[in-house]
Amino acid sequence: MKAVASDSSELKSSKLKPGVNRGLSIFDFILRLAAIVGALGSAIAMGTTTQTLPFATQFIQFRAEYNDLPMFTFFVVACAIVSGYLVLSLPLSIFHILRSRARATRVVLVFLDAGMMALLTSGASAAAAIVYLAHKGNGKTNWLAICQQFNSFCERTSGSLIGSFVAIVLLMIMIFLSGAALSRRH
């Protein structure tokens, strides 16, 4: 009697666990798609931002583009690399949906997700620091706030940061999901 009871409880537990893992993997796939949209949108929005002032000012330069500032160039490159990685990791995510018991590939995914999240965060925070300086300037170092002149350039660069922040949060949630899926006992 006891042997029968333990068998049925083990059968129930082994039926439940792959279902939860599969749900986690499907959610991970959906988040990956959303993160691709966020990162790619940021790269394109920052990369296509130019503004030319119609009049001559005290500045010699009256045209602003993303590659005038090396941090914005780094931001565009980092966003492009991360969105390329996310596209390439979609097959791995689909593999995790099909084979919910896979463990070694989940470890690879966790590590690569963490590395890409670090890259994207450093690019986004560098661009955010420069956007902050462009908005406020700095009195002690005599750095003038260029947003007074280049209004639409500033607005577009600030807006493009939002997509990358969303992608960072989604990448972090994907790491949590992979960690939770790894920790479940089979």
């Binding site: 470890v107 560098a126 790491i175 920790s183």
Partner: protein, 211 residues
């Protein structure tokens, strides 16, 4: 029937608590019962990973604290007059550096608080709960650390080379020591970022090998 039922009730608690032949599969407690002989190899590897994780955590603490302290004590006063009105520079002249100091201090505080969890993972290598918690909190701390490092790196590189398109002058030509200390602090925080990545990898590897 009655004797059968009473036998099953008697046996069930015994097998849960029995010593060397007891099976752990029926209950999944956080701190596990004694380990069967076949799991010794994984046991040793996980204990090795946990010890290495602890050592890395001490390293992260050292570099995060060093970065925060280096940036926090970086002030320089020039002994002569220049074309700038201001001839002293300190970390709180730039809000980005203030954010850097605060964020690195928070990360160092988190690492101190996570050391007990790491010790629990050394003592009980097969526990999955502390490891998942460390994985999650480590990735949050990684994000904060990288954000502080990236923002400070952007401002430091701007201070070193200036920017002609926006007419921002390179401050480091005047304030050499201040710039050097700030650059050193940024390097230290990027070292902490790399160590965090390794910590996340080790947590994931240990979780993979749990049965």
């Amino acid at each position: 029937m009655k004797t059968g039922e009473s036998t099953s009730i008697d046996i069930a608690p015994e097998t849960n608590n029995s010593g060397p032949i007891g099976k752990k599969k029926s209950t999944t407690p956080l701190l596990a019962a004694p380990v069967p002989v076949t799991d010794r190899g994984t046991h040793r590897m996980k204990r090795g990973l946990s010890i290495f994780d602890f050592v890395l955590r001490i390293g992260v603490l050292a570099s995060a604290l060093a970065a925060a302290a280096t940036m926090g004590t970086s002030d320089q006063t020039l002994p002569f007059f220049t074309q700038f009105f201001q001839f002293e520079a300190s970390y709180d002249d730039l809000p980005t550096f203030q954010f850097f100091v605060v964020a690195m201090a928070v990360v160092a505080g988190y690492v101190v608080l996570s050391i007990p969890f790491s010790i629990v993972c050394i003592i009980r290598p097969h526990a999955a709960g502390p490891r998942v918690l460390l994985l999650i909190l480590d990735s949050v701390a990684l994000t904060l650390n990288t954000a502080a490092a990236g923002a400070a790196a952007a401002v430091v590189s701007l201070a070193h080379s200036g920017n002609s398109s926006t007419n921002w002058l390179a401050v480091c030509n005047q304030f050499g020591d201040f710039c050097q200390q700030a650059s050193g602090a940024v390097v230290g925080s990027f070292a902490a970022v790399l160590l965090f990545l390794l910590l996340i990898l080790f947590s994931a590897l240990s979780l993979k090998n749990s049965h």
